[in-house]
Symmetry: C2
Subunit: 339 residues, 2 copies
């Protein structure tokens, strides 16, 4: 199978659109898809284009024996999550793919990978419009394009002293699964399955991001860990924050039952998982206290849990307190690819 | 040096813009650059957005000991070439970069790489707006964004029977250098230096692509080899073509002197280099015979040689003839990453 056959067979938009019933309206903004030197996109008038690129490397971001459908899902999910964090509506994406020769010849693997990828693409009406295919160590690079009305994007630099700090969904599940898969931790089978779902098939919070336009003052998606990622918001906004860890520690994902987690893990473990566990792809965002009802409403609209875990303050730095307001000490480092 | 230090030190747009004097007007279309979940772009009203991604893998697209400044140049050049082939004006690009730990710690290498990259970016007023950095086998993925007025893009499917077939610049130089560097061929030093320049520092034909808007009926950039790439135009346009190889065989790049090449190489070698040598990043394009003067004028405007090498025909297939109109036989295959 040559390079062009491979693209034609597994990735061409037309077949994907047919296969997963992307409605024609979803691709109105795509003037030209796969097969030319560039794809052509027509954003709606008055919209800015949001752009993000993520690269996933075998052995670093996923195991060699990962379920290829889950890999396809996750590769796109992490990019959709970046759009969600800007409050941008997905338009389209490109995929650049380096494949070892054995993988390029493995039709079952490619079929499952492209299925996982294109199913999520169809669910978000976000077609594959182009990219590149080459031989090399397995590497996936997706660039996603979205649109957001000018000046309505949820940026990192908008948090203000007095704002509430919120997170969506639950935290720590991906890290929990990673530690279990690495043999560092044994989990009950049901909990492992639920945590593994969070690691391998994260749900990008696109609907919540859109619902938070005009409500949230800032947002970021949680890829490296809560403390590190909130730290980026604070740096960009020139502010500090206090997080109530008695709330945060309840946010470990083990299925939908967060109380189960607090029964299973001691506080230090729970905090490590929730504060520093990466790969959750939830949103952290800020909003003025006057907007609490609006935030709750946005969460309900998007069918996504939202939890208030702290407050933005003028004093720089990130402070952790327990339920009684006492300082919590501990070294909770977020992920750094070159640390 | 951590991931965020590395981005800050070598790739942040602000320092790059200062360093290479990108005029503020060049970045008017960038509403938000490096440092948020997404970058934000504001295309001009009435313009479509052109998007292309290319991935370069060590050992496949470049040697491990390549000059890092040349690598930075080439990584962006091949993407600018895709915009050129659409007649699109560069707006901005993202860079996703997988680096082995030794490379991530090599400040001299990173400085030279980012210099080569950002110098070409500045020359085309095309700022780096975001991306990703991770550990892994060396891999560069650039996604470039450009703009082109709606319906003016130079697509592959517009060639019509009777159109002339043109190429820009000279062909075969990159392949010649590759064979010399692989020890397959010995070249006079001056010729090697000139050919190597073509391999390592290709010139994207952006100005020519812009000048050909409204004149060319189709265009493609030559990355895999003339015959293969023209084949894509013919397939998209449902047409065939005849190429006069007595002209094409003169187009080997050895400095600016194409006549020298025909004195040095036999016809079969010259044809292999020009018809099937990849990595030239010239444009092949078609235009009606009535537009010959306009094409010549566009070439002059863009200070780029343009040469008429054949004609589009209704009969499918790609035919090669010599100067006397006799059929030329030979197996000139273009590059396929999985062949």
């Amino acid at each position: 199978m040559g390079e062009f056959d491979l693209i034609e067979r597994f990735f061409k938009r037309k077949s994907a659109a047919t296969r997963y019933s992307i409605a024609p309206t979803a691709t109105d903004s795509v003037a030209l898809g796969i097969g030319d030197d560039c794809a052509l996109i027509q954003p709606a008038p008055g919209q800015q284009l949001a752009v993000s690129s993520d690269m996933l490397v075998e052995g670093r971001h996923f195991f060699a024996d990962v379920d290829p459908a889950a890999l396809g899902h996750k590769a796109l999910a992490v990019n959709l999550s970046d759009l969600a964090a800007m409050g941008a509506e997905p338009l389209a994406f490109t995929l650049a793919l380096a494949l070892p020769p054995a993988r390029a010849a493995d039709a079952a693997w490619l079929q499952a990978f492209s299925d996982g990828l294109l199913q999520l693409a169809a669910a978000h009406r976000c077609p594959l419009i182009g990219g590149d295919t080459t031989a090399g160590p397995l590497n996936l690079c997706i660039t996603i394009l979205g649109q957001v009305p000018a000046a309505q994007a949820l940026r990192r630099d908008g948090a203000r002293a007095g704002d509430d700090l919120w997170v969506s969904g639950t935290l720590g599940g991906a890290r929990l699964a990673l530690e279990a898969l690495q043999g560092l931790r044994t989990l009950p089978p049901g909990m492992l399955a639920a945590a593994r779902q969070r690691l391998e098939r994260p749900t990008p919070r696109v609907a919540l991001g859109l619902a938070l336009r005009g409500i949230a003052s800032s947002a970021i998606d949680l890829s490296d860990g809560l403390l590190g990622d909130v730290g980026h918001v604070l740096a960009a906004s020139r502010a500090g924050a206090t997080i109530d860890t008695s709330i945060a520690s309840l946010l470990i994902a083990v299925g939908e039952d967060t109380t189960l987690a607090s029964a299973v893990f001691d506080t230090k473990t729970a905090l490590t998982l929730t504060l520093a566990g990466g790969d959750d792809y939830e949103l952290a965002f800020t909003a003025p206290p006057a907007a609490r009802a609006a935030v709750e409403h946005a969460g309900a609209q998007a069918a996504t849990r939202v939890t208030r875990i702290g407050r933005i303050e003028a004093a720089p730095g990130l402070r952790l307190i327990d339920g009684a307001g006492r300082a919590v000490e501990g070294d909770f480092r977020s992920f750094d690819h070159f640390a």
